[in-house]
Symmetry: C2
Subunit: 406 residues, 2 copies
């Protein structure tokens, strides 16, 4: 695999032609999909003196594994299961050759998107972590290398992978959060090269970062608000050096609970992220900021807004709450949840907000709706009024991420 495999000449041109013939209009936008970084991302971009320590792929015979500064980072097979039957799902780390090429090859991704009828995808990484946590961890050992990796990832994602068709492959940047002033600068640079959202961990303390209520976050959060670029809080985005045992709480891998418990629970873990962002007063201080809870499902949000409002009503005195209004006020004004198939969420959509939910396909993870997205949309959302349906599967995303239609 190398950069020319991405073949930005063919598929990209075809897409643009198609788009210009029809006028660009997004019919189905997925706000949560993943790239599996191919082996050349970092070695092609790091300064010469950092290459040796920087991320490189080594083969263990059974799997292709990343090595960073001497430490091995295996990628669970569950991150690259698109196209497999459920019987073939495995957590075992894979070789790139065992993955569906659309996992790591942009041209092939566009082909897979065509198969599934997906017009655009908002992209997260794999090695990088769901909020860049791999490099936040790395910074504790080697901040120079970590910063170079963040820049390399952001450059590669926007400048190479998504350049394959920038209207359909939408990059979201990771940030050097161990240095919040630099993070604000990197955000500005990323917006300049086409990134449409910033990834943040919802529980900063997991990375020993200051809480959101700390003024240190001001420059970055202010820049997010001012630029209009949404903040995406993906489930698992707070998995870092303290790892799942703490992030998933008592359900961590040492807990002796069945693996299905962890898988079933993963989306719902973002309840704490929602509550933390809200009760830390982020939307109070940044009323224009857009905040997206990604892959968390939506069927519990109606309940949780009620619960947070109830808590605010009863506890705001002794807690010296940072909010001026009940939490649901801020959620409906500027927060969003995303889902794949969620009948309870759709049944209760008016409690969440018709403008506040966005559909996703989660390619190529185990949850992915690929290649049955249109069928599942028809089955589970087909009863919605046409304008509501359009908002949920495209219109809200176009508005939130500022995608351009013509």
């Amino acid at each position: 695999m190398n950069a020319s495999d991405n073949g930005r000449d063919n598929a990209g041109v075809q897409s643009e032609q198609r788009a210009s013939a029809e006028g660009r209009r997004y019919n189905i936008v997925s706000v949560d999909d993943h790239v599996v970084e191919p082996p050349d991302v970092f070695q092609d971009r790091l300064p010469a003196h950092l290459r040796e320590r920087g991320p490189r792929v080594v083969s263990t015979g059974e799997a292709d594994v990343w090595e960073i500064n001497g430490a091995k980072h295996a990628i669970t097979g569950l991150s690259a299961m698109a196209g497999r039957s459920f019987e073939e799902y495995t957590p075992k780390a894979l070789r790139f050759a065992e993955m569906r090429p659309g996992c790591h090859n942009a041209r092939q991704r566009l082909v897979d998107m065509d198969t599934d009828g997906i017009d655009a995808e908002l992209l997260f990484g794999t090695l990088a972590g769901l909020a860049g946590g791999t490099f936040i961890d790395l910074a504790a050992q080697d901040a120079e290398l970590a910063m170079a990796c963040v820049v390399a990832y952001n450059d590669w994602l926007a400048g190479e992978w998504c350049a394959e068709d920038p209207a359909r492959l939408i990059p979201q940047c990771i940030l050097p959060l161990w240095d919040l002033a630099s993070a604000a600068r990197e955000l500005g640079r990323c917006i300049g090269i086409g990134h449409k959202a910033a990834l943040l961990p919802g529980l900063p303390h997991v990375f020993d970062l200051p809480p959101f209520a700390d003024p240190a976050w001001g420059p970055l959060l202010g820049a997010c608000e001012e630029s209009g670029v949404p903040v995406a809080l993906h489930i698992g985005g707070s998995i870092g050096r303290k790892q799942a045992a703490e992030t998933l709480g008592a359900l961590g891998p040492d807990a002796g609970v069945p693996a299905e418990t962890l898988v079933a629970s993963a989306p719902l873990t973002n309840y704490g992220v929602l509550a933390n962002v809200l009760f830390s007063g982020v939307p109070v201080r940044y009323p224009q900021m857009k905040i997206v809870s990604v892959e968390s499902g939506i069927g519990w949000i109606g309940y949780f807004l009620e619960r947070m409002d109830w808590t605010y009503e009863r506890h705001r005195f002794w807690t010296h709450s940072l909010l001026d209004e009940p939490p649901s006020h801020y959620f409906r004004r500027q927060m969003y949840g995303t889902f794949l198939v969620d009948d309870t969420g759709i049944e209760t959509i008016e409690r969440i907000g018709i403008q506040n939910v966005m559909w996703e396909s989660d390619y190529p993870h185990t949850d992915t709706t690929w290649p049955k997205s249109r069928e599942l949309i028809k089955t589970h959302l087909g009863h919605l009024a046409p304008e509501v349906l359009h908002n949920v599967i495209a219109g809200n995303a176009v508005r939130v991420y500022g995608l351009e239609e013509s």
Copy 2:
């Protein structure tokens, strides 16, 4: 305060007279309320050689604090807020004299229940922990003392406090879970003295207990099934020696997240308990067992059943699932959720199961509906069909806990 304050002569007799005049019929049953153990519970009951080390109340001047085997156990004020305005809520530990007497005095509790129109309450402790965790922790230092404390608590709750009116004050037993064979025997003894449910932690590993899939649980879980006594899994029931930092996961007290985050999130933490019990195969092996998720709210359960079924469908092959059917099958057959005010839960009640939800008042905690329970029931449940309403606020509880009507 002393035992005679409980005055079992007056209020108890009045209640029984009222009940016998009308025939005993439960109109409002709350399945989650708390006693604040009064100071004499353990000192009156422990064998002489254990009294010195056993739980006793000492005054710090500002608060009455329990001392057990030399260690202090403060009780948060948030556990005894019934009757206060929200402005007066405080986490500060209190003196007994600052609490509403119904917190610790059974006769006064019955008066408060009359004020609020509550026919019966299912009771949990305070010092004891929500699944007896205080004594599971103690057993690691002094198993003899811990066992005596468990027995004393169970004897006191059924034999003294609830004896004030056994048809209205319903005891639930704690168990010496560090010795699962003894726990099965203690369950049998407790059923004999009137206990109607057994409290278990939903995440046994927090107490270094074997996972539910381990055969060591067989005698106890088998006894629960055989006797028909439900297992109550109260939120926070897995807080023990590993404490909130791990049990509430990344939201623990050291997390630097606002206190409201913890309060708002507490009910939802039981999602992991539900998933653990289900995916550990407990309802598969014990199809007659009744399992209650207490104080967890219900508005997220419809979503989570969908999510668990989705997970089971996709992941059951590589996980070698212990289930034969999707999780929702077992939930609807034998599992229950409880709530105070939960409009989303009621809107989605058919997804959860009309037979599977029970109302609670949570006296005297901060969430309590006291003394407005009837008003809140009318406002939030008044639109339900009469037989559904009756099931939700009484009938389901009568059936699940085996309360006797005449």
